[in-house]
């Protein structure tokens, strides 16, 4: 196995780990929220302040968490991932 192949395999593995981790995080957050909707309706009905129930707060936070996870991925991809891809491509096919 050449050095280039080895580095590509490392990159594939690293990308897969991060993609799975972030996908799992998004699913955990979202289905955690849905599970509360399904099984803990009274908890989500808790009123934190007039007009703000826990359900509405957590719902908005699910949207914010999607942004945060994408931000994490893009930060990693724009720096580490792209640099490695560029250096592998410069190494010739």
């Amino acid at each position: 196995m050449t050095d280039r192949q080895r580095r590509l395999e490392e990159l594939v593995a690293a990308q897969w780990r991060l993609a799975v981790l972030l996908t799992a995080a998004m699913m955990a957050i979202y289905f955690g929220f849905i599970a509360l909707v399904a099984f803990a309706k009274p908890v989500l009905a808790t009123v934190l302040m007039p007009g703000l129930s826990l359900g509405i707060l957590l719902g908005a936070l699910v949207i914010v968490s999607a942004w945060v996870l994408i931000w994490i991925y893009v930060r990693w991809a724009n720096s580490h991932y792209d640099t490695t891809v560029d250096s592998l491509n410069e190494g010739g096919a």
Binding site: M26, I34, A38, K41, G51, S53, G55, V62, N78, N89
Partner: protein, 518 residues
């Protein structure tokens, strides 16, 4: 309340006329640049990240989002928000698993990706069936939304409205291809987000710019239960099933996936998802305010009086806070929204018919550019006419709900095959075929057996399948069938192609071995 909805609104007609004339000008400009199949399907890969982000947002923020969700929130409070949230959380999945590999592996359709290292003919036939099923259900939702809106707005008959939408949309796609469709999406996305923002702002002006004062007013008027999970999601498994379908369905929508081919490379595809998620998230946060705003300022009874499905909540709200002129503007924007989404769907359906079925299955990948373009245009006309018929046949359904079904099929038929083909070495032609077909068939069958179809539509007393959304059963089933069949009948050639696929996923088309798949 007294509303001018249903009477011809000159301003609305004026706004809409301006939109159609300007988008036709765009179409004329794009038509002169649409000379090859590459232009027709993928706008010559010339779209920038920001433009594609806006166009993705335009494709995604359909009539279901704007009219359907605002209506659901207005009539059932918190429960409607589950759609807003579910529609957004699919985007990170698109980003982490799909967008970049899709751009690097395919040419015009997501089927290109599934067929990359598998046997072309069987995989393409199966994937086209999955694609077309999703496109048809989604088209129904959009056409029903269009018919309702224009009937209420211009006093035209539902059927005339559906025919107008079909006709204008056909002109965009037929002559301007992907370039015109993309710019129609961009114009529409800017108008829709701008309109929703102004509408939300006008609502909040009445509550000292404090959304919680608005929510509190809703709780005071209709009880604290509107801020909590309620009756719409009465069965816990139903909530999970709907959630699963909304989340994974996004990554299986043919018209969304097709957009990633309009940009230069995988990095631009990544940038477009980032922009799109930003725009779409903001828009769905605004639907919280629009929905509760309509509940408080218009009132649930007034909304249901105009349309039992609740779809008119947002236009009614616009009339209350901004008068007839603003009603005209918002209605024209909603109409433009539907037109643009229908155009995107039709283009994706035409690509499945012409690129996947005709060029690659019938002609074995050998068709001249002139022939490809011709077949694509014939398919476009066919789908345009089909969408008009579907719109008329399914009159009266709630649009957000119909979109939920489209997502269930996308998540069960397309998503599993796409993920397995990109990430699993052992995936085979037979595995892909059965996974897609079982996903499509089981989703359609369980929708037919569900309470929605059996009790609400067919008026039976009993539904054999308890869930309203089949995703919880059909998505795992499609994965399991795909994996089991691949294990039972291994395909060494497909496994050998996996190394080339991986190289190309990460290093791009230039670094891969061999030609572009056609």
């Amino acid at each position: 309340m007294n509303t001018s909805l249903g009477q011809p609104n000159l301003l609305a007609i004026g706004f809409f006329f301006v939109f159609v004339v300007s988008t036709m000008a765009i179409t004329y400009w794009a038509a002169r640049r649409t000379r090859s199949a590459d232009h027709f399907y993928s706008a010559g890969r010339s779209v920038t990240g920001l433009q594609n982000g806006l166009a993705l947002a335009g494709d995604y923020m359909s009539a279901a989002s704007f009219l359907g969700i605002a209506g659901l929130v207005a009539t059932s409070g918190f429960d409607g928000l589950l759609y807003s949230i579910g529609f957004l959380v699919g985007w990170p999945i698109v980003m982490f698993l799909i967008a970049e590999p899709l751009r690097n592996l395919g040419r015009y359709t997501f089927t290109d990706v599934v067929a990359f290292r598998l046997r072309q003919t069987p995989v393409r036939i199966a994937a086209s069936i999955g694609s077309l099923a999703v496109v048809c259900f989604y088209l129904i939702a959009q056409m029903v939304g269009a018919g309702n809106l224009i009937r209420l707005l211009f006093g035209l008959s539902y059927e005339t409205a559906v025919v107008i939408v079909g006709g204008v949309m056909l002109a965009y796609v037929l002559f301007g291809g992907m370039l015109a469709t993309t710019w129609v999406q961009i114009v529409k996305a800017v108008l829709l987000m701008g309109g929703a923002f102004v509408l939300a702002f006008l609502v909040l002006l009445r509550f000292s710019l404090n959304p919680f004062a608005l929510f509190a007013a809703a709780a005071e008027k209709y009880g604290a239960s509107v801020l909590a999970p309620g009756k719409l999601v009465s069965d816990p498994l139903d909530a999970i099933s709907l959630g699963l379908a909304l989340m994974l369905g996004t990554a299986g929508l043919p018209h969304i996936l097709m957009r990633f081919y309009t940009v230069r490379d995988a990095r631009t595809a990544r940038a477009s998802v980032t922009y799109a998620t930003g725009f779409i998230g903001c828009f769905y946060l605004l639907t919280f305010i629009l929905g509760f705003g309509a509940m408080v300022l218009v009132g649930q009874d007034a909304i249901r009086n105009v349309d039992p499905g609740g779809n008119m909540a947002a236009p009614l709200l616009a009339e209350v806070v901004g008068g007839t002129a603003f009603l005209g503007f918002i209605s024209a924007v909603a109409f433009a929204t539907i037109l643009a989404v229908v155009a995107g769907l039709t283009l994706a359906g035409a690509a499945a018919l012409s690129h996947d079925l005709w060029v690659n299955v019938v002609r074995g990948g050998k068709a001249s550019d002139v022939e490809q373009l011709g077949v694509a245009r014939v398919s476009t006309v066919f789908l345009g006419i089909l969408s008009i018929f579907l719109g008329i046949a399914f009159k009266g359904q709630n649009v957000a709900y119909m979109v939920g079904l489209a997502f269930a099929i996308a998540a069960s038929a397309n998503f599993p095959a796409l993920v397995l083909s990109i990430f699993w070495r052992g995936f085979t032609t037979r595995g892909a075929q059965t996974s897609i077909l079982v996903g499509t068939a089981s989703a359609l069958l369980l929708i037919y057996l569900s309470p929605t179809m059996q009790i609400d539509v067919l008026k039976n007393a009993f539904a054999p399948f308890p869930l309203r959304n089949p995703g919880l059963v059909t998505i795992p089933l499609s994965f399991i069938v795909g994996i089991a069949v691949s294990k039972l009948f291994p395909e060494p050639e497909a496994a050998q192609g996996f190394a080339a696929l991986q190289r190309r996923v990460h290093l791009g088309p230039l670094a891969g071995t061999g030609e572009l798949p056609t």
